[in-house]
């Protein structure tokens, strides 16, 4: 006779089988977790959707079950299920090899979201904490430990990454990315702990500083020399590598511009155009990224002038008038009061005015002079009194056009 107890035993065995299949699918073959993790499958199975997913999984189709353990939102899930999900994803994240970067990031973020969601389930956590330690811990400390799962995860994530930070290894890359995506994880939660996002920012900063340590050492050594040279370029190239590794960290863009500006002035002062050109090429990606940010974020206004100056240096090094003008115009969009930018732009506009007239056929010189006047008038509005502007105005007048 098939008894209810037999049915229960069969279901328990099925849930253990499914838990192990799920683990194999998500963990790249690491040893399975405790049998109690099968409670996750049991709880999922209590809903119609979960029961369907389990049926499919028993037939060998595991993907629906995988989807269910990665919920888009933790709102409304029962606390024991959220607890299981936190532990499950945390275990998967710890187990995945570093090269499975996308899956590892997803697992850390799911675990973080689940721990953050669990933190607001105070009745569940208090009950668990009281049952485990009773009065052996003061109530306040008991509650603090119970809600602190998400913070412990962030601390673990940082600790794992610090070891390989200087070598820019995969574990560090995963941690940096997860820290940057913490808001994405917290969006899955109704009321995440208030300071979690800022803690992630702080830990990410600390990790970025650790990745930059070799760069700082290289720069310090380079700066002990008298003038900017190969060692400086190598150190800045390393900084740009770290900037790319950190998925374009804003602080590193600022760092690169801050470090490169005095070097660029020194090279400019000594007319070392070749070295200045190499400096610009080395740091251009970070400068351009910061320029774009400054253009759309008013809070970064303090950096507008510095980025504009780097673009002005570049404009002066470029070899075609059009690209020179395009670049200096970008600088003026960022900082329209930038003195050097206005001067260089005025000079380039005057040069273009002269070329318009000089290169126009005789029969078309008047139209060219009218176009040139647009350039000289703008040049004067930007920076009055330049010798080249004066020459351009004289050329315009010679064609019978009022300059």
């Amino acid at each position: 006779m098939w008894r209810p107890d037999d049915q229960q035993l069969l279901e328990r065995l099925e849930e253990r089988t499914l838990m192990r299949a799920l683990w194999r699918r998500m963990s790249h073959g690491a040893p399975p977790p405790s049998e109690r993790a099968a409670g996750l499958v049991h709880l999922l199975r209590q809903t119609d959707e979960g029961a369907r997913a389990c049926e499919r999984a028993l037939d060998g189709e595991i993907e629906l079950l995988v989807t269910l353990v990665r919920p888009a939102s933790y709102v409304g899930l029962r606390p024991p299920l959220v607890h299981h999900l936190a532990l499950w994803h945390h275990a998967v994240a710890r187990t995945l090899p570093p090269h499975a970067r996308g899956e590892a990031e997803e697992a850390w973020l799911q675990a973080l979201g689940a721990w953050a969601a669990l933190a607001s389930e105070s009745a569940y956590l208090r009950g668990l904490a009281e049952a485990v330690v009773a009065d052996a811990l003061p109530a306040a400390e008991r509650d603090a430990v119970a809600v602190d799962g998400a913070r412990r995860l962030l601390a673990e994530l940082e600790e794992r990454a610090l070891e390989g930070a200087g070598a820019l290894d995969d574990v560090t890359a995963i941690s940096l990315s997860v820290f940057a995506r913490v808001p994405e994880a917290l969006a899955r939660v109704e009321a995440p702990p208030a300071t979690l996002a800022s803690e992630a920012v702080r830990r990410r900063r600390h990790l970025v500083d650790a990745t930059m340590r070799p760069v700082h050492e290289a720069l310090t050594e380079a700066q002990a020399r008298t003038e900017p040279g190969e060692a400086h370029l190598a150190a800045l190239a390393a900084a740009v590598r770290v900037w790319r590794f950190t998925a374009h960290d804003l602080e590193l863009e600022r760092f690169v511009v801050d470090q490169a500006t005095p070097m660029a002035w020194e090279l400019y002062g000594h007319k070392q155009w070749s070295m200045l050109r190499r400096l610009d090429a080395t740091i251009a990606p970070a400068v351009d990224a910061l320029a774009e940010r400054v253009g759309r974020d008013p809070d970064l206004f303090a950096y507008a002038s510095r980025v504009a100056q780097m673009l002005v240096f570049r404009a002066e090094l470029l070899t075609t008038l059009d690209t020179q003008l395009e670049t200096v115009e970008r600088a003026l969009v960022l900082c329209d009061t930038h003195r050097n930018g206005r001067l260089v732009c005025a000079d380039l506009l005057s040069e273009r005015a002269l070329r318009r007239i000089e290169t126009a056929p005789l029969w078309d010189r008047k139209r060219a002079a009218l176009e040139a006047r647009v350039d000289t008038r703008r040049a004067e509005s930007l920076f009055a009194g330049l010798a080249r502007t004066k020459r351009a105005k004289e050329a315009i007048a010679r064609e019978g056009v009022e300059p």
């Binding site: 107890d5 405790s34 409670g39 299920l81 330690v133 009773a134 430990v145």
Partner: protein
């Protein structure tokens, strides 16, 4: 599986006394000093530091499955069932060992001198 609650099959809701009792049994059954040291370390974490015990309990999967029911009763052998064979009369090796038979004959049951002797006596009787 480094969480001691999961590794040693402990219930986080058991108090330090029950955990100690279970860990003592595990230590007695341990096969090496290394294993015993691990058990002792886990015991200290679970019983001497309540904060750590709580952290580890939170990091252990809650047992969300219903408790298992009773196993079915073994079927009683009726009088009309098949007659007992020689194999039914032999003590299982573990039982024989417990009875003091430390060295069991390394032969098949058909060649076992004790069973052959029993069979001969049965045939005569």
């Amino acid at each position: 599986m480094s969480n001691p609650f999961e590794r040693y099959g402990l219930d986080p809701f058991d108090g330090p006394a029950a955990i100690t009792e279970r860990m003592r049994e595990l230590a007695e059954d341990a096969e090496s000093e290394e294993e015993r040291a691990e058990i002792r370390e886990a015991w200290e974490a679970l019983t001497l530091h309540p904060r750590r015990r709580l952290e580890l309990a939170l990091e252990a999967h809650p047992d969300s499955r219903p408790a298992l029911g009773r196993s079915p009763r073994p079927r009683r052998r009726g009088r009309s069932a098949d007659a007992l064979g020689l194999a039914d009369l032999t003590a299982l090796p573990s039982v024989a060992g417990a009875l003091g038979e430390r060295t069991l004959p390394d032969v098949s049951l058909d060649e076992d001198p004790v069973l052959i002797d029993v069979a001969k006596k049965g045939a005569r009787g």
